[in-house]
């Protein structure tokens, strides 16, 4: 609500400005550009220019340390779509790994933090303590989390199997490795999403709940008709950032499974890093990055389409 009224004020101010003399408008415009300039410089220098240079790299057999960087045209791209080429099998296996991880981690990371945020939004003794507890894992680095889980989940010497009295191959065999990777990531990052939800929840006016209460809505009806619509914008943010973060998964597999079994859990970011930074095949790695970026772009489009359709109804 607050956002909307701000927008109204802003547009009213804009309308007033239109009536002013053009000289003042020009000066205002200049000020706006000046304020934008620092970010623009950073954006152009560190995002736009390298991204364009990356396309140039992807058209070469590129190794920055080598004198000869032969032009290969689209070969780095076509090889990704040619069965039997050096990268075809690995690339698509890695894309699949990323896909599986995203598919399972995103729903968990959208739903579980919401439930936790709902709990943490209620008034009870020790609420601040629990808020901190749920957020705590997020401040740890992936190396810490990864090693911790690697030892806890070790199939033979891990404490989890010890208490279960089982021999579940959490870190070495399908499908358990995915359970571990998703579970570990959810535990690690749910605090961040929960925090965003919590902020969204406190933004929903208590009067709406009072009104719903008076209309005789029960808890579930209040959740469905007040809470969820009130969290709409927050939900878009959470879903979008969680999809992107999950699609970029790297550190978890790198430490927990090293890709095991075989290379089944090596994600696309892992493969791009292997090829670009270990084998110094930067042209091929850049091409893979672009194909992956396009896929992510398509996913984001679908994502926005879905949320917009919800808007229309």
């Amino acid at each position: 609500m607050a956002v909307q009224s701000d927008v109204q004020v802003a547009s009213a101010a804009g309308a007033a400005a239109l009536t002013r003399r053009s000289r003042a408008r020009k000066r205002n415009g200049l000020a706006a550009y000046l304020f934008l300039a620092p970010y623009l410089v950073l954006f152009l220098g560190f995002i736009a220019a390298p991204a364009i240079f990356g396309i140039w790299i992807s058209l070469h057999d590129y190794d920055f340390a080598l004198f000869y960087k032969p032009w290969v045209g689209l070969a780095n791209y076509t090889s990704l779509f040619t069965p039997g080429s050096r990268d075809f099998g690995n690339f698509w296996q890695a894309m699949k790994a990323t896909g599986i991880f995203t598919l399972f981690s995103v729903p968990c990371l959208v739903v579980v933090p919401l439930l936790i945020a709902l709990l943490l939004n209620r008034k009870f003794p020790g609420r601040t303590f629990f808020r901190a507890v749920f957020f705590l894992p997020y401040v740890l680095g992936v190396a810490v989390i990864g090693l911790l889980f690697r030892y806890m989940l070790d199939p033979n010497v891990g404490v989890v199997n010890y208490f279960l009295g089982a021999n579940i191959p959490w870190t070495t065999d399908l499908p358990w490795v995915w359970v571990s990777l998703v579970g570990m990531t959810v535990w690690w990052t749910l605090g961040f999403n929960a925090l965003i939800y919590l902020a969204g929840l406190t933004d929903i006016s208590p009067e709406l709940y009072e009104a719903a209460d008076m209309d005789g809505a029960n808890r579930w009806q209040q959740f469905a008709n007040v809470t969820l619509p009130g969290l709409r914008q927050v939900m878009v943010f959470v879903v979008t950032t969680t999809i992107l973060a999950s699609a970029n998964m790297f550190g978890q597999y790198f430490i927990l499974t090293k890709g095991a079994p075989g290379t089944a859990t090596r994600t696309i970011i892992g493969y791009i890093a292997d090829e670009g930074l270990r084998s110094f095949r930067m042209g091929a790695a850049a091409a893979m990055s672009y194909v992956f970026a396009i896929v992510l772009l398509l996913v984001s489009l679908v994502n926005f389409k879905v949320f917009n359709r919800g808007d229309a109804s």
């Binding site: 190396a143 033979n156 270990r278």
Partner: protein, 447 residues
């Protein structure tokens, strides 16, 4: 001044990495290697490092000694600083994998160190990529003779006829046995098995007492090293002599991997051994035998929970053979070569090379035979017991980009040991990919 820099992997930085993969590569590309490889950074004054007489200089030295060997190298460097006039060395320690990635970027942007230590198989890659420069003069000044080294360690520092690496040590795989576990099973803790029959008999006896005595790791540490040792013992090799074709799917290799997988199917090893679990189990007296690096000696010495022994790896196949690697000193290319620094670096390398008996205390075998046979090294009982291995140790082959091809070998071992494919299938799949990589690399590096 020593800074340890563990890889700081945060989720955010990976998000950033993905978002700007193109960007990062683009920035890295700004350096650019514009001079051909194989040229020394500056003309040589001829001293080759026997002494340094120039003005005061500071040198930086990068390496990957993150383990117990870090303490030893720190002492050696501070000893050097204490005695050297006009030369001060500061050291940075990185994870080996980080160092391998950082060095090229640092060197091509002119921020590289003066001296580094690398593994023997990383030397050709860095020589071909013009990251390190030839140091034949240092070898001459040190009066290094081929006859004073095992051929593998001597040849490993050479690329296209020029010397890039001054050998510091050899660190082979070793055979560790847990004396407590072995005694409990009724075996003689002072007579470890040395051949196939004894080895299997011992494992069988351990199994009878309810101990899985030889945990087989599916990962490079230590399964990949164990497999390669067996491969050479079965008379096979990972690649053909010209390094144009991966041969680790040949009969000998398949037999070697089959033997390793049989350890699991026969119940001498549990299935699904996790990363480091073989060694963790060994240290907790759940595992009797572990084929692990010589570098673990100091770690085992630092505990008193159980008694242990160390010796050369048993001979399972028809020949002797063991995996090993070697640390070598290298000199980094400088965008603005400083003659004084070059001379001082050579002096530093020269001086430290003569301390290789001291260095051996970090769990290494000195590269030089004369030092390895000297009284100082003989006093290191555990390390010295592994000296015979230096006669038949195999290093990863010295050709640019070999790590890319070896990664396929390790994946094959992983697939077979985790029982996802048969040894034959896993090795054939891996070798086909590795051959493709070797051929690509040949084209790329023009060797």
């Amino acid at each position: 001044m020593t800074t340890t820099s563990p890889s700081a992997l945060t989720r955010r930085s990976f998000m950033a990495l993905a978002g700007t993969t193109g960007a990062g590569l683009g920035l890295a590309a700004c350096g650019g290697g514009s001079s051909p490889a194989g040229k020394a950074g500056a003309p040589d004054t001829g001293s080759g490092g026997a002494e340094y007489t120039g003005p005061a200089v500071e040198l930086s030295f990068w390496n990957g000694f993150t383990g117990g060997d870090g303490t030893v190298i720190k002492k050696i460097v501070s000893d050097f600083n204490a005695q050297a006039k006009n030369v001060k060395v500061t050291m940075n320690i990185y994870q080996w994998a980080d160092l391998f990635q950082k060095l090229p970027a640092a060197v091509t942007t002119g921020k590289g160190p003066d001296v580094g230590a690398l593994h023997i198989d990383d030397i050709p890659t860095n020589a071909a990529r013009n990251i390190i420069v030839p140091i034949d003069q240092v070898a001459t000044a040190l009066n290094l003779q081929e006859s004073d080294f095992s051929p593998a360690v001597w040849q490993g520092g050479v690329y296209k006829g020029q010397r890039y690496g001054i050998p510091l040590d050899i660190h082979p795989l070793a055979f560790y046995w847990n004396k407590d576990v072995v005694s409990k099973a009724g075996l003689d803790p002072d007579k470890p098995p040395t051949n196939k029959d004894d080895y299997e008999a011992a494992l069988d006896q351990l199994k009878g007492k309810g101990v899985q005595g030889f945990w087989v790791s599916p990962f490079q540490f230590t399964g990949g090293f164990t497999f390669q040792s067996l491969m050479w013992q079965y008379g096979a090799d990972a690649f053909d002599a010209d390094l144009t074709k991966a041969t680790f799917d040949a009969d000998g290799s398949v037999q070697a991997l089959q033997w390793l997988v049989d350890m699991i199917t026969k119940g001498y090893s549990p299935k699904n051994v996790g990363q480091d679990a073989d060694y963790v189990a060994f240290k907790n007296s759940k595992n009797a035998f572990n084929w692990n690096g010589i570098w673990q000696i100091n770690d085992l010495k630092s505990q008193s929970k159980f008694e242990w022994g160390v010796g050369p790896v048993p001979q399972i196949g028809s020949e002797k053979g063991v995996w090993g690697n070697s640390h070598q000193f290298v000199q980094l290319r400088q965008l603005k070569p400083d003659q004084n620094k070059l001379d001082a670096s050579r002096y530093f390398i020269n001086w430290v090379s003569q301390q290789s008996a001291e260095w051996a205390k970090s769990g290494k075998i000195p590269a030089k035979k004369s030092v390895a046979e000297g009284a100082d090294f003989k006093a290191l009982t555990e390390e010295y017991s592994l000296a015979p291995e230096s006669e038949y140790v195999h290093f990863p082959p010295a050709v640019p980009g070999i790590g890319d091809a070896l990664a396929e070998l390790y994946t094959a071992v992983n697939n077979a040991v985790l029982l996802k494919s048969s040894p034959q299938q896993a090795l054939s799949d891996g070798a086909a990919k590795a051959t493709k990589i070797l051929q690509d690399n040949k084209k790329k590096y023009g060797v």
